[in-house]
């Protein structure tokens, strides 16, 4: 038998339920694999040998019984404070809402997933634990802020990870690392013990190797079934400018090809006020950024500290104006979803950039990766809707490329159906790709 972490999440759960896989052995071999394989990618800097066994001992026989997962550093655990990628304990140890949902489904937390410092970056290049490498090429970014979650799943350290998404933080690293990343609808999970409680942008997310595994994790988090649909062809809207035009052409071609393979009814879409989304996101995010205490500020990296300090200087007048735009864009999106089931565009506009210099080259010019990445992702956070990143092939740089799908509020099942259909239509050619680190 191959290593049990080469099995999918649902295969692990099924094997345990049948009695074919001993969950104690699964956890032991998982912890060993993390120690042996994580060095180049630094996805899981803290592991819980004792606590994971105790969790298994008490685990209910739910859908995830005995299955090891990692949890982003943004969520407090009963035995460990949340540090949010910093050196300090920022939320005291407690059973956070998302943790409780996964615990109650029988999942076992084996480690902390590394993340970009305070969630304030899309590259994973800055963390108190050190930068996160991409399993496809550890010299490139795993993404952020949930880079540790995406890298660990991609490298087959674990089959699932709890992530979060405030401006693409689940979807963007999933795209860089070639895995599935699902951002949930805002407010659909209890937020206590989670940094998302301090912002109107953040929602928990799940990272898994395919849509079926993502559905299993999402059902546990949402505490409700996400039934598959009838399979009727979906209506998919595409918004060309800037989401398809200002990206690496190779990625646009791969995403177009995926839409064709899926044989969805694709229509061109116009959404009002899109040109204002960036300013509304920025205005709101800087207003919601809450600088930590002075002693914590002193421990942060200079870029993170500078962003927090700059947020303290922003004028309050932008907030009500950003909110007016937010309301208008939400209405425009709701109107758009009256005519389509999904909206689609490339997830990250480029493949993962180098960790040493995370800038990207686009038709519009060169820039740090964060701006273009957030442009592709943050409309979902501004409006509260769910979104998913799905792999659609390998770039000529031998790095993954991802397609992003967005759905209306509460329609996670439509996203998962679409992702599963795409896997079927492409004969799992992209979702089953294995990075060099995991071969």
């Amino acid at each position: 038998m191959s290593h049990p972490q080469d099995l999918s999440l649902h295969e692990q759960a099924a094997a345990i339920a049948r009695g074919d896989l001993d969950p104690t052995e699964l956890i032991s071999t998982t912890l060993l694999r993390i120690v042996e394989r994580d060095g180049p990618i630094n996805s899981t800097p803290v592991v819980f040998e004792k606590e994971s066994m105790a969790m298994l001992h008490d685990a209910p026989r739910g859908a995830l019984y005995g299955v090891p997962i990692t949890v982003k550093d943004m969520f407090a655990l009963p035995w460990r404070a949340a540090r949010n990628g910093s050196e300090r304990d920022l939320i005291s140890a407690t059973a956070s809402g998302p943790f409780r949902r996964l615990r109650d489904a029988g999942a076992v937390v084996v480690g902390i997933a590394n993340q970009h410092e305070l969630g304030m970056g899309t590259t994973g290049a800055i963390s108190a634990y050190g930068p996160m490498g991409n399993p496809w090429n550890p010299a490139t970014c795993a993404g952020g802020s949930s880079g540790g979650s995406a890298a660990a799943v991609s490298a087959r350290l674990v089959a699932g990870s709890l992530a979060s998404d405030s401006a693409g933080s689940t979807r963007l690293p999933a795209s860089y690392c070639g895995v599935v990343g699902l951002k949930l609808t805002y407010g659909s999970v209890p937020y206590d013990g989670y940094f998302g409680a301090s912002t109107t942008f953040s929602a928990p997310g799940v990272i898994a190797r395919d849509a079926r595994d993502a559905r299993l994790l999402a059902e546990a988090l949402l505490d409700r079934p996400l039934a598959s649909s009838s399979g009727a062809p979906l209506r998919v809207g595409v918004v060309r400018t800037p989401f398809w035009d200002d990206v690496d052409p190779e990625i646009a071609v791969a995403c177009e090809s995926a839409l064709r393979d899926a044989e969805w009814n694709v229509v061109e879409l116009q959404i009002e006020h899109l040109e204002l989304v960036g300013a509304a996101v920025l205005g709101r995010l800087i207003a919601e950024a809450s600088p930590p205490s002075a002693d914590v500020m002193a421990t942060l990296s200079r870029p993170t500290r500078a962003m927090l300090l700059a947020s303290m200087l922003a004028p309050a007048r932008v907030v009500p104006r950003a909110d007016r735009v937010r309301a208008a864009v939400r209405a425009a999106l709701a109107d758009a979803f009256g005519g389509v089931d999904l909206i689609a565009w490339p997830c990250t506009p480029t493949a993962a950039p180098p960790l040493s210099n995370p800038w990207v080259s686009l038709p519009s010019g060169q820039s740090p990766a964060d701006g273009p990445n957030m442009r592709q992702a943050a409309i979902a956070n501004l409006c509260g809707i769910p979104g998913i990143a799905v792999p659609v092939g390998l770039h000529s740089l031998a790095l993954p490329m991802g397609l992003q799908l967005l759905a209306a509020w509460g329609q996670e099942s439509v996203l998962l159906d679409a992702a599963q259909h795409l896997e079927y239509a492409t004969q799992r050619a992209y979702v089953d790709l294995i990075p060099p680190l995991a071969r």
Binding site: T185, Y186, G187, S188, T200, E275, L276, G278, A279, A280, L282, G283, I286, P291, A294, M297, A298, R302, P303, R305, A306, M307, L309, A310, M312, L313, A314, R317, V318, P320, R321, A322, D323, R324, V325, R326, A327, A328, R330, A331, A334, D335, F337, C383, G384, A408, W409, G410
Partner: protein, 63 residues
């Protein structure tokens, strides 16, 4: 020290946050870029963007 540095320093001192010259240079860069990008909000015609209640958990009422 220029106006920006004086103003920024005073703001940070109120929060008991010590900054050095490198911090201030970085903050000024981010601040200027941010204000440029936010300028479009100052130019909004508010009649076209009415204030509406927002519940991010569900679709807005379009009626």
């Amino acid at each position: 020290m220029g106006d920006f540095e004086n103003w920024a320093n005073a703001t940070f001192r109120q929060s008991h946050i010590a900054v050095d010259d490198d911090d201030l240079a970085f903050v000024q860069l981010i601040y200027v870029s941010t204000m440029t990008r936010l300028g479009v909000l100052d130019r909004l015609n508010l009649d076209d963007f009415p204030s509406r209640a927002i519940d991010l958990r569900r679709a807005p009422d379009l009626t």
